[in-house]
C-alpha cells in the first residue's frame, strides 16, 4: 500500500522506548493527514521485546528487518562476478583510503548503487563465495592490513559488508512512498540513500544524537575488536587496524546519507556543526528543536504539593549513556546532607540488563537500598507532580524531551553539560537567558557537583520557585510542540513537492 512518508528507524521505535521513539510517536500522531510506513532495522530478533507503542491509525505498515540474524548457509556453487564489477569494487575501496578527496569517493559509491540494487551483477553470494572476492580480500590484506591475523581480517570484512546486501534488498522492496525520512545515519541512513537512488524520491534526515560519533566512541572502547599485534608491533597511541576499519565504515555510511539527504536536520547548533564536520553540505542543514505538548503537561502543575518534594528523579532508560551510576553516587552525598531525600530511577531496565544489575549492585554497595528506588517504566504524567527535580546525569544527550516535559509540569532540572542541556537550562538567546536559570548544569561524571547542585535547589524554596517559573516560561516560549510540527509540515510539504 502506498504511503506518504516512510520512516527508516534503526534500533528505536516501536520496539525500544526512549527519547527518539517518543519523538517518532509524536511526529506520526501530529500528521493524521499523511500515511506513514515504518521500517525497523534491528540487530537480532532476540534483542528486542514486544512493541512499546500502540501504532497510530495512520501507520499504513510496519516491516522489521534484523541485519545480524544468523542465516542458513546457501548451497555451495561456483559463482563469479564479472571482472569489471570487481574492478569497480576495488576502485571504490581504494577511493576510501586516506588522501583521496571525499567527493570522489562519494561519486564512486553512488555509481555502485545500481549494481548493488540490481542484485545480480554483485550479489551477497558473489562477495561471500567467489574466488574473485577471495583474491581481492587476500590482496587488500597484504597491502593494507597492519594486524598480523588474516583470519580476523577475513571475518571482519565479511561481517562488515554482509548487511549491505540486506539493505539493498530492503530498499528494492520498499513500498512506494512520496518521501523517505531516516532518523539517523548508520544502516538506516544508508538504506535511505539506497531507497532514494532506487525509487527516485526525496530523503530527509533528522538526527537526534550523532550516530557516527556514538559508534566511534563505542568502537574505541569495544572489547570484541581484536588487536593481534605483539608488544613490539604495537604503538599504544595508535588505534588498532580493525577498530579504525569499523570507524571508517560507519563514517562512510554517514557520508552516504548526508550526500543523499535534503534537508539534514539537527536539534541544536553544536550537532549541526558536527554534521558539517562529518561531511554534510552546510546549505542543506537546518535546525528544528524538539517540542512538547503543553496542554498535556500544564495541568500537572496544579497537582503539586505546596512543599518541594525532596525527590530527585532520573527519567530514562537504565543504560550506560545515561550514567545512572553517577546519579546513584550523587545520592550518597545528598542523603548524607538531607536524610529525607530520595532518588528515583524511572525507566525500563531491559535494554541493558547487565548495566541495570551493576546499578543495583552499586546502590547496595553504597548502602542506599532504602533511598534509591528503581521504578521501572512509568507514566511521566503520574510521576512529575511527585518529584522536586528531574535529573539527567547522562554522558551524551541531544535535546532531551524529558527536561521539556518536566518544565511544562513546572519541575526544574539538573543536568550534565552535554548536548543542548546548557541551552535548555540557561537559555540560548539574550531574551531566553533573561528568563533565568531553570535548574543547574554540572560536569559529567561528577557526583559531588551533582549532589551539591541538587541540594542547593531542594533546600532553597525561593530558588526552586524561581527555577520553576523560568522552566515554564522557557518551554512555553521556545519549545511548544506546535512549533516543531509546523517546521516538519513545511519540511514534508517541500520534499513532496520536490519529489
Amino acid at each position: 500500500m502506498r504511503a506518504d512518508i516512510t520512516l527508516l528507524l534503526e534500533g528505536t521505535y516501536p520496539f525500544v522506548s526512549g527519547g527518539v521513539s517518543s519523538w517518532v510517536h509524536q511526529i506520526i500522531r501530529a500528521f493524521p493527514e499523511w500515511r506513514f510506513h515504518l521500517v525497523f532495522l534491528g540487530s537480532r530478533r532476540e534483542d528486542y521485546g514486544p512493541m512499546r507503542y500502540e501504532l497510530p491509525s495512520n501507520v499504513a505498515g510496519l516491516e522489521t528487518h534484523y541485519l545480524f540474524e544468523p542465516e542458513a548457509p546457501p548451497p555451495l556453487e561456483v559463482l563469479e562476478p564479472s571482472p569489471q564489477v570487481m574492478a569497480e569494487v576495488e576502485a571504490l575501496h581504494t577511493s576510501f583510503l586516506a588522501g583521496v578527496p571525499p567527493a570522489q569517493a562519494m561519486a564512486r559509491m553512488a555509481s555502485m548503487y545500481p549494481t548493488l540494487l540490481q542484485g545480480d551483477h554483485l550479489t551477497r553470494e558473489h562477495f561471500l563465495r567467489s574466488r574473485a572476492a577471495w583474491e581481492t580480500i587476500c590482496s587488500r590484506y597484504k597491502r593494507f592490513c597492519t594486524d598480523p591475523s588474516f583470519v580476523d581480517y577475513f571475518w571482519t570484512v565479511r561481517i562488515m559488508h554482509a548487511p549491505l546486501w540486506k539493505l539493498a534488498a530492503i530498499a528494492r522492496n520498499l513500498p512506494a512512498s512520496r518521501v523517505y525520512h531516516t532518523i539517523s545515519t548508520g544502516y538506516a541512513g544508508f538504506l535511505g540513500a539506497l531507497a532514494k537512488a532506487h525509487h527516485r524520491r526525496p530523503l530527509i534526515l533528522s538526527e537526534h544524537g550523532i550516530y557516527t560519533k556514538e559508534r566511534k566512541i563505542d568502537l574505541l572502547q569495544a572489547q570484541w575488536i581484536k588487536d593481534n599485534r605483539n608488544v613490539f608491533q604495537r604503538d599504544p597511541t595508535e588505534v588498532s587496524y580493525y577498530r579504525s576499519l569499523w570507524i571508517r565504515f560507519f563514517e562512510w555510511l554517514g557520508r552516504a546519507c548526508y550526500e543523499a539527504a535534503q534537508p539534514i536536520i539537527a536539534l541544536y547548533e553544536a550537532n549541526r556543526q558536527r554534521q558539517i564536520q562529518d561531511g554534510a553540505n552546510p546549505a542543506r542543514t537546518r535546525l528544528i528543536p524538539n517540542g512538547v505538548n503543553l496542554a498535556r503537561f500544564a495541568p500537572l502543575r496544579a497537582q503539586r504539593s505546596t512543599r518541594v518534594p525532596p525527590v530527585l528523579c532520573l527519567i530514562g532508560r537504565v543504560v550506560p549513556i545515561k550514567d545512572v551510576k553517577t546519579f546513584i553516587r550523587a545520592m550518597r552525598r545528598v542523603v548524607n546532607v538531607l536524610p529525607e531525600a530520595e532518588g528515583w530511577i524511572a525507566g525500563p531496565e531491559d535494554e541493558d540488563p547487565g548495566y541495570a544489575q551493576e546499578c543495583r549492585n552499586l546502590v547496595a554497595s553504597l548502602g542506599l537500598t532504602e533511598k534509591v528506588r528503581f521504578l521501572g517504566f512509568q507514566k511521566v504524567d503520574e510521576l512529575l507532580p511527585k518529584i522536586g527535580l528531574t535529573v539527567l546525569s547522562s554522558i551524551s544527550e541531544a535535546l532531551p524531551l524529558v527536561i521539556l516535559e518536566g518544565y511544562a509540569a513546572g519541575v526544574p532540572t539538573l543536568a550534565t553539560d552535554v548536548g543542548s542541556c546548557r541551552q535548555l537550562v540557561e537559555g540560548l538567546t539574550p531574551e531566553d537567558r533573561a528568563l533565568g536559570p531553570s535548574g543547574a548544569i554540572v560536569g559529567i561524571a561528577d557526583p559531588t557537583a551533582l549532589a551539591d547542585a541538587a541540594l542547593a535547589l531542594l533546600t532553597d524554596e525561593a530558588r526552586w520557585q524561581a527555577a520553576s517559573r523560568a522552566a515554564i516560561a522557557r518551554v512555553e516560549t521556545y519549545y511548544a510542540d506546535q512549533m516543531m510540527f509546523d517546521a516538519y509540515r513545511k519540511v514534508y510539504s517541500e520534499a513532496m513537492e520536490r519529489g
Partner: protein, 324 residues
Amino acid sequence: MQTKLLAYATVLEGSAWGGVILASSDSAGFVAFSLLHAAAALVASLALTTLLAPGSRRARLSLLPLAFALLFALPLIGIPLILLWLLGVRRLRARHRAATFAEVSVPPFDIHLTTRPRFRFTGAGGMLANARVPVDTRVGALLALSQVPGRIATPLLRRVLACSNEDVRLLAYGLLDAQEKRLNAAIHEALSRYAVGGAERLAAAERLTELYWELVYHGLAVGDVRRHALESCLAYAEEVLAVRPHAEMKLYKARALHALGQLEQAAALYRELDELPPSRVLPYLAELAYDQGDYATARQLIGRLDRLATVPRLAAVVRYWSAA
C-alpha cells in the same frame, strides 16, 4: 669581478691556442701551451666560483677543482660549455631574485606547551589538557593511558572529563568507567560471598577491605563515595582483625584511618607494624608527620629509608627530604 676574470681567462686561452697554431709542435711549445691553458682554466674556474652565492665558502672550494679539471681536460668545448652554464645560472638567479618571499608569521604562543606535564614519563597530562592538540592525537594519548596503572591514569582521565571535545570526553569517561566497573563487579562478588556467611565470611571481608581500598587508591571514588569506601574498608578490616590479626590487614586499617583524617589512631597502628620491612611503613609515617605539620619528624623518618631500597618515585622524595 667575474667578467674581469673571464676576460683574463680568454686572453690566456687565446695565447695558448695562438702558440699552438703559430709555433711549431715541439715539446717546448707543448709545455708553453699547457701552462697557458692551465692558467686560463684556473682563472676561469675562479670566475665560476664567484657566481655562487656569497657565504657558500665550502661549495666554492668544492667547485674549484671540479671546474678546473673540466676546463683543463676539455680545452675546446670547455669555454662554450661554461659560458652556456653561466648564462643559465644568471637566468636562474634573475628568476630567483624576482620571486617574492612569503611572510611567515610567528607561531602563536601556547602556554600549555610550556607547562611541565604532571605525568613526566609520557607528557600525557599536558597533551590532553591542550585544546590545540589535534583530537586524533589526544585520542591516541587516551588509548595509551589505558595501558598505564589506574592510580596514575585516573587523575588525568578525570581532568579530561571537562574537555570541550565530546569524542575525547566520552573516551576518557569510558576508560574510567571500565576501571570502576571491574572493581565494582569484584566488590559485588565479594559482598555476595560475605552475605553467605560461614567460613567464607572472613575471606570475603578481607577481600572487601582490599577492594574498597583499591577504589580509593586508584582515585576512582571521590567525595562522599570516597568516604563511604574508606569507612567500608575500615569496618571490614576491623572485622578481620578481631578474628585473625595480621600485619597486612593492620596496614589497610591504618591507611584507611589516615585517609579519614584520624591521624593519631593511624600513627599508633603504623608503629605497631614491626614485622613489615621499614620501607613499607616509614613512608606512611613520614606522610602522616607531614600531614600533622611536623616536618622535622618527616625528615627524620625519610632519612631512615635506604635510598637504594626505594622505588624511583619515592627515591625522589627521599632525595628531597634528605638534602641539608
